[in-house]
Symmetry: C2
């Protein structure tokens, strides 16, 4: 809509494309609700008040709110491609995503960024990108790529690239690591996302002084408050595993602080969970259940995020703002009755049904390329006492245990111990880390995954080398995914051929296939309280205490070094 | 401060330039107050918490707030140049000005903009500029310049130019006047200030749809609320003449709305008033007296304005923000005990004492250039019944009265009627408008001014042509100002040689000189309830009802045309 058309439509001199009649307008600008019609033209709000036009939808007093904004999410964590992921967000009123393609970047580098930018192009959602700041996540593993300032720079000209994604390398900031500072300099004047669980005191001040302007890792109100005071916007996270909303907002409500510098995000949320309850919409109802004013909650889920990320025409309902809108039945459960993107109704079911694609031919679809794996490579290092990664049910943290060499065969036979291997899969270097795992269960056979934060090497767990090799072969054949094998036979595989991280299936099919595989894994004896694949996917992440395994071997996170 | 120094100073590894110890920090980010030290280096806040350094100032528990932001002001209206004006703002804690050099632009066009940019360069204040959008204000008078999009464009590259100043031409917006749309297109993506008293309904929606994002003309809460809902930030004005704060905030507090989209401004405030009570600081104490939370009031006077004008490093106290700070004794009266700009203490008295300058030689100092004025040019148009401008005490509006030709001599003799003339003074065109004025007083003699909104022609009022000519000659001789003459003799003159609008004196001398001249004018019989010069300065503004006089003659504002 050009300016002339906007003015004339607002004046009622020209017809809008659509009028949403009889709304209860959730006005996040004033924090109030008032009755109004909303006139839309060319995807933009032309006027709010008393309007009519050739195309009208009577909202019958339902609540009309700005489209919601998920202020930080990793689409790859849903295992769906953007075209399959976005309908599930849109279904629940999210019309803007601030994504951090950190996962695919660790596998495919700049080609991965390009791929997700292309895949998300033209979808009926505002798909913004924060460029990954920490690829690889650490130097104790081999990822598929390295992204320095030089590799990131060309992406700054992309319209949908806003800033720098979660800066996990706090030690690098504190040490003034030149590679980190170079990235911060490159993104000067843009929004830099933080990622600093538990950081307080002078360290937090240094992190803020370095230029970090958001963080989504607060788990307590006190931590969130300290970050807010440091000028770091708090993105309150409610994902599938990390649920921080109640702790943060309970404190904020108790102390009556301003929420203007807080927004909502999901970070990592499983597709089935999103399909069931949404992301930000779920946060809204949790916040209101805690006693937050509903319009304030909606502001956190819309305008606040828009302001934090400097998106001037998003997050409110007023002339000149994009007509990204969600209709709620109520402001308690936030049941969604309609969603509009750029003024057009969104049919999430139709979008979802049409969201599959064939695997392509580019490097993203040729990402599982380990060196040929042999039984010899799966031999444990020769130690009298072997360190053991002990999984804790319901937790992402592990404990460091141990086992004597002579007890390993009997523990393997008893099923209390399983072998775990991490196989470098990006550049066929032949690096294989081998260790032992307790607490996983699995009676007999092997499980494998190419989703393995953050380098996404191949993780294999099992009770015998033959099945480990079978699993590796299967995942190489399908170019990534989850698999369950027994006695050399594949019981089930969920193929994730896009970077070994994402399926090409539509969301419904994908969640169905995953459910089937999870049932098979449960039947195979994976312990209760443990997600058969997601738990594995964190076992190679050398930043979570206490013991992890990378393709370079066991890593003692507490000492922050490889085990000798 | 480079990033490395910022980080190391925040960590406590390198020394800050200054530590403000034991502050009660007014944290507008969370809306709370908490105790802290603030470490400053290179004019930027490095860390907040527990800091020490070689240079410390103990605040002893005083309140430390972000430097205040005056979100809309015309420096010319103070009659002081920026170097004399800014110390008076700094004295009361204002460290950022959003100025609109609309007045000088009407006299000197782009050369006036350039002059004020140069004059404000290097002052210890953030001096931002919104480029004047409406020069000339109307087509019913001759101003000194015309600023179209073409003349404004070169100024967009100036670092301190933010956007487009008050768009007074609502009719031009509604009519999609190409010249107006061209300016809006030029400033797309920047902040456009509005100026739309009383605008509501579809007209307001059109104004917002056109791209206007602030307005400072609301006089009632309902008007402010409608503008907020339209996505137009409300700059709550408290000037010398226009005082809107109580009406707007009483309503906002009663309805419990969010104030996030509201900030404070002074628009036009006399220098003596600023010296006595400040601008934004005065607004803070008024707001708190009405019952507003003090931290919320401070946020309106700092962070809100910074966010509205997209100034990311202003308006809060946190690492990376500029160390523009004000120390308050309390949060009720907001007595100022110290001000810091870029981390350095401001000595407003010393700045003020040093703020005079000699008139320069450029076009700004050669702006009063009327054609030679003769008694013949001061003859009244020949009408049987003459329209009369009637001044209403204490008001800026006028009424249209009339007088029969034969009654004029006796009324002039009785002192109830005075002759008024507006003399074009920019381009020596010889245009002179002549009319009659009632309610001004002045026993005998003439008063003259070159401050005459918005075109700033020469206004003369008196009871005889000789004194009118004497006043015109005096103001031409001194190149602008206020003057009072009697029987061909100058009783007193305040010289305003910068564009005929501003003095070159320091603020203290200027207010003293003005006070002396006002006393002379009172003694000369100017009526009570009328400012001898300010009232005159609005009599040529052809947008204020009902009757005005321009250099083209009497203008009927209600009919919006020149009187035949």
């Amino acid at each position: 809509m050009d300016r002339r058309e906007a003015i004339r439509t607002a004046l009622g001199e020209e017809a809008p494309d659509l009028v949403l009649k009889h709304a209860r307008l959730v006005d996040v600008l004033t924090g109030t609700v008032y009755p109004a019609d909303v006139a839309i033209r060319d995807g933009v709000i032309a006027g709010v008040g008393d309007y009519s036009g050739p195309a009208e939808v009577d909202l019958g007093g339902r609540y009309l709110a700005p489209g919601l904004i998920n202020a930080h999410c990793h689409v790859e964590s849903s295992m769906a491609l953007p075209r399959a992921y976005c309908p599930e967000e849109l279904r629940w009123g999210v019309t803007t995503l601030i994504t951090d393609p950190h996962e695919i970047a660790n596998v495919c580098g700049g080609e991965g960024l390009r791929f997700l930018l292309d895949e998300s192009e033209g979808l009926p959602i505002n798909y913004y990108v924060q460029l990954p700041s920490c690829v690889p996540a650490t130097r104790f593993e081999h990822a598929g790529a390295v992204l320095s300032a030089r590799e990131l720079a060309p992406f700054l000209k992309e319209e949908r690239v806003l800033g720098l994604g979660e800066l996990m390398d706090y030690p690098g900031v504190a040490a003034c690591d030149p590679a980190v500072l170079e990235k911060l300099d490159l993104f000067a004047g843009r929004i830099v996302d933080g990622h600093a669980p538990g950081l307080t005191g002078k360290g937090l001040q240094a992190y803020a002084a370095a230029g970090v302007r958001t963080d989504h890792e607060s788990t307590t109100w006190e931590e969130a408050r300290d970050k807010l005071r440091a000028g770091i916007a708090v993105l309150v996270r409610e994902g599938s595993a990390s649920k921080n909303l109640t702790a943060i907002l309970t404190g904020a409500l108790r102390e009556g602080v301003s929420t203007r510098e807080m927004a909502f995000c999901s970070d990592d949320k499983h597709l089935a969970d999103i399909r069931r309850e949404g992301t930000i919409r779920h946060n809204l109802r949790l916040a209101v259940a805690l006693g937050m004013d509903p319009v304030e909650a909606v502001a956190m889920g819309s305008l606040n995020a828009a302001r934090i990320f400097r998106l001037p025409n998003l997050g409110a309902i007023a002339p000149g703002y994009r007509a990204d809108l969600v209709v709620f039945e109520d402001l308690r459960d936030f049941a969604v009755s309609a969603v509009y993107k750029d003024g057009r109704p969104v049919d999430a079911d139709a979008l979802a049904a049409d969201s599959g694609r064939q695997p392509g031919v580019g490097p993203v679809f040729r990402s599982v390329r380990p060196a040929p794996l042999t039984a010899a490579a799966l031999a444990l290092p020769d130690r009298a006492v072997q360190p053991v990664i002990e999984i804790l049910p319901g937790q992402i943290l592990t404990r460091r245990g141990e086992v004597r060499r002579e007890d390993i065969p009997s523990e393997l036979a008893a099923g209390t111990l399983r072998k775990i291997a991490v196989v470098e899969r990006h550049h066929a270097t032949g690096h294989v880390g081998v260790g032992l795992l307790r607490g996983y269960g699995l009676r007999h056979g092997a499980v494998g995954t190419t989703v393995a934060h953050d380098s996404h090497n191949l993780i294999l767990v099992g009770d015998n080398d033959r099945d480990l090799l079978t699993a590796a072969g299967e995942l190489t054949r399908v170019q990534g995914g989850y698999t369950l094998v027994r006695d050399g036979r594949v019981l089930g595989t969920l193929s994730l051929p896009a970077a070994g991280l994402m399926s090409t299936l539509p969301a419904g099919t994908l969640t169905g296939e995953l459910e089937k595989l999870l049932t098979l894994a449960r039947e195979a004896g994976v312990a209760d309280g443990i997600d058969p694949f997601v738990t594995l996917s964190f076992l190679a992440l050398p930043v979570l205490p206490e013991l992890r395994l990378t393709d370079l071997g066991l890593f003692d996170v507490t000492a922050f070094r490889l085990v000798d």
